[in-house]
Symmetry: C2
Subunit: 545 residues, 2 copies
């Protein structure tokens, strides 16, 4: 027997409808790519998104077609998303930080039909356009006055293009499981993989993201998403913010400390979110200028682990609540947030920072488990670590045009992270699964050893990889870059580490190198490092033989 | 093209799973019907709900079967809901405040198979049981020690009954649109009508209800639902509270001021919700004792309009934020909450109270419109009032075993309320549609006139009904009960009202009566009043003839 409630599919354009009706005059402020600050509101954004939808339809874009966006966070980008969504097409956010070859690969794999791009990226796309046969038209997100001369196919200035529409358009209606958005993940190996969000998954995710113990978003908030919309579905901010009617401040192309500070201060931003690198730049700028953050209440820090010192500075020096978060493109992307449950709410100082080093607990709608390599569930004691697997309505079940089964027998997706979960359900990432060192059936966290090693005053950077071992399977090798002009020995380093980790975790050897390879996004490229040390033999191997 | 996200149906038992896993030790405290305070937690509630499900299945309860509950808010009632839900059966909350004939009617109409009832209601059900052929078993929500002698069919003490199960049960899995709960509305005319919630509608509604600008529920809250679970789906508190892991304090059968105060104070309740009558009792008790409410942060007041003086006292004397709310059984039930958007957030004193007299704005997932009798949309200016109609995933599309179409051409449900909506989307109920007086094509609010009349120092109660008029269609008649020992004339009363409403709103006559008829729940019974004045002729009619 079915319930007798209304059929009201969870369609994302209903979010901008709600924002326009109930929060129509709420400011949406952008530092435009052209330079000046531009102020609009949700009612105008909806009105222009309707024009985008109407124009896309006239250009032949249909249900299920992919429309690429290569753009910073601006009001125009937001209009494009909702216009695309309202036709039943799929926004495909292209990350401009990818290598050009990867950009070509993903656009061709997605078969994008139209691309909407910022002025910033016109030169890049002119170089790549010949390799992109599916794109029929390039819409430059600017007006006639700023429109460049360009060889891009059927290029048109966005403002001219939407001016051809009168906005008399009704959003398309369709099944809530219809594809809505697409974002590719680029691992360190293999081709990028396309995650395909649905209207349903993004809507449910926006609810989860806005809850008090998640991002806690209200109509009275002024929200600055520094995290770009092209980074992991923009952390849901293009949906959860208009869903609650919070004001938006969008940074455009400028994410340096001074530019972000100016927005935070001028527009009395109460909520912001970005990766640690951005906050490092902001904190350095504040340090230099002596400025404070009197309006900012909460900062969400994710994408990579939030350094303890960063959390401490935000909370103790600037009185800004830090919400450490974790997620991934495959999770829409939020998986967990480190907001305080009653068990931890009264903690202060170091005890609070200890908890804030964890990535936190999931909202309703995300299930987690940690398992060993055989899939057996492990204890939630905050110590045992295992493969972190997740399940929920906003978690991927497959990649685009890819037949691989990515779920286990219980329907969980393996995140590739290794984590502990404590008795209150707080998860902490301890490593990537492929980087963990498997020694005698037990796991050693490469990240823990690296964090420890960089604490040595002479060490600039450290990486730990597993080296084959006949008795133990793998044993850790510590690779070190010393600070300029410093010298140190293996015994110096290991002596420093001794007593700070279990004895059997101590690396079997230390290799001193000039530099450690990095990915385009600044992460240590362990695959390359492993190749470099392919023929390396540990001294303990020789001893064992 | 569909998205590639996981199939994870929105099933309500997932909420108690989440609560048990992530908030397992969070206290759930009840003033038991037997008397003592009982403390349990979400992990135990889930464990016992599994036993309920297992036992129900053994008793032959299947997917879609209705299980009646006639019970106060207790931990056992909560376990029953989740146990019922986890078998795919439907909880049917029976309101003990209905007339016995109505209780018989709805149980037979619902064809309830099992009834779970509190000790309080055993005598009542013994009287009615002969007329209830579908109920196969009565489960008394108590233990062996408190089990009464009873003639109820197959009666068993709840604790004995679940003790026969080991809890080794897996929740059933099914479509999220499966019926989950049932609640009958009893209007002043006609048979009660059954609203049939689904797992999906209740889950989405719980998200909507928990948002910062709705009830703002967090794991750090201690939540006291005084509103009974049998009243309009318990205002979603049985779902939205465990969804976020807030602690629960349940009042059992005692809702007098002193009992509620004791719970608020002892357990440091931060959030509570009930109808104005309950708060009147509490405020009177506080007045008497001089006690304060240092822990309470927010009180949701709904069910009927929150008196201005009540809002003022809570906010100004006790420093408790008042959230005026509106909804109805057909809406799961929350429709709108009067939380402050930036446009109103800075208001204080009378200006703030003015806004708080409104029922507020809806969360994402509730659409509203006001229309005239022909269905034409009316302006949102805070002045024009029209029929209030709503649409959304948690709004009814039909009643149980009833073929009537209750939606308009756009899919909106007519609430039966008449309301204004202001420019910021704040709705204010001005009357019930059937009570509004239609005079010369314009509407006059009976409630506005009543509120004005009771402001006269000699008036104890006032009711306004429309009386047929040859020229104007209807004109208002003001029916007055004077305070004991007082005397007044028509001119006294109308003179007092003059200048405070539009001239053409002034009643054509005043009738003085000994008392005004009321419904079982204390509302003015205007149908009866209209019958009493069926043959009454207004003086202005005679003048017009």
């Amino acid at each position: 027997m079915l319930g007798l409630m209304q059929d009201w599919p969870l369609l994302l354009h209903r979010i901008i409808d709600h924002a326009a009706i109930y929060h129509g005059t709420r400011p949406v402020i952008t530092r435009s790519v052209e330079g000046p600050i531009v102020e609009t509101n949700y009612a105008e954004i909806r009105a222009r998104a309707l024009k985008v939808a109407q124009r896309l339809e006239r250009d032949g874009v249909k249900l299920g077609d992919r429309v690429a966006t290569l753009a910073w966070n601006t009001w125009r980008h937001l209009e494009c998303w909702y216009g695309i969504l309202g036709t039943g097409a799929v926004y495909h956010t292209v990350n401009p930080r990818l290598f050009p070859d990867q950009i070509v690969w993903i656009i061709n794999h997605a078969e994008d039909k139209v691309m909407m791009l910022d002025l910033t990226f016109v030169p890049l796309m002119e170089k790549l356009a010949d390799k992109l046969p599916t794109i029929e038209r390039y819409i430059i997100l600017t007006d006639a006055a700023h429109m460049p001369q360009t060889t891009l196919k059927n290029a048109v200035a966005y403002e001219d293009w939407i001016a051809e529409a009168d906005g008399d358009f009704a959003w398309k209606q369709f099944d809530e499981n219809t594809a809505a958005g697409m974002c590719y993940t680029s691992g360190t190996t293999g081709d990028p993989k396309g995650v395909l969000y649905s209207h349903r998954s993004n809507t449910l995710h926006a609810f989860m993201a806005a809850l008090p113990d998640s991002k806690n978003l209200s109509a009275t908030d002024v929200c600055l998403p520094v995290v770009p919309f092209f980074h992991a579905n923009g952390w849901s901010l293009a949906f959860s913010t208009p869903m609650v009617g919070a004001s938006l401040v969008l940074p455009g192309a400028k994410m340096d400390g001074a530019s972000i500070y100016e927005l935070l201060d001028t527009y009395k931003v109460s909520f912001t979110a970005a990766v640690p690198t951005v906050w490092l730049m902001l904190l350095q700028d504040l340090e230099k200028t002596g400025a404070k953050l009197p309006h900012l209440k909460r900062v969400v820090i994710g994408g990579s682990a939030c350094p303890r010192a960063m959390a401490k500075t935000f909370e103790e020096k600037y009185d800004v609540e830090v919400v450490h978060a974790w997620g991934m493109t495959e999770m829409s992307p939020l998986g967990s947030l480190c907001t305080m449950k009653p068990e931890y709410a009264a903690l202060t100082g170091d005890a609070r920072l200890d908890i804030q080093q964890k990535q936190g607990h999931p909202p309703f709608g995300v299930e987690m488990k940690i398992t060993d390599d055989e899939g057996k569930r492990l204890a939630w004691d905050g110590k045992v670590f295992g493969r972190l697997k997740v399940r929920g309505p906003a978690v991927a079940k497959a990649y685009f045009k890819n037949k691989d089964n990515i779920l286990d027998a219980e329907g969980f997706f393996d995140t590739g992270d290794v984590a502990t979960i404590d008795q209150y359900g707080y998860m902490q990432v301890t490593d990537r699964a492929k980087d963990v060192i498997k020694s005698g059936g037990e796991w050693i966290s490469s990240i823990d050893l690296e964090n420890l090693a960089v604490g040595h005053p002479k060490v600039a950077e450290a990486a730990v990889i597993g080296i084959a071992h006949p008795k133990w399977d793998e044993r850790p090798l510590l690779v070190i870059v010393l600070k300029k002009g410093e010298t140190a020995t293996k015994d110096d380093i290991l002596g420093f580490m001794q007593g700070k980790v279990a004895k059997w975790w101590l690396p079997d050897d230390v290799a001193f190198v000039e530099d450690i390879p990095h990915t385009a996004t600044g992460k240590i490229q362990k695959t390359t490092l492993r190749k470099q040390f392919r023929d390396y033999r540990l001294p303990t191997v020789e001893a064992a033989e």
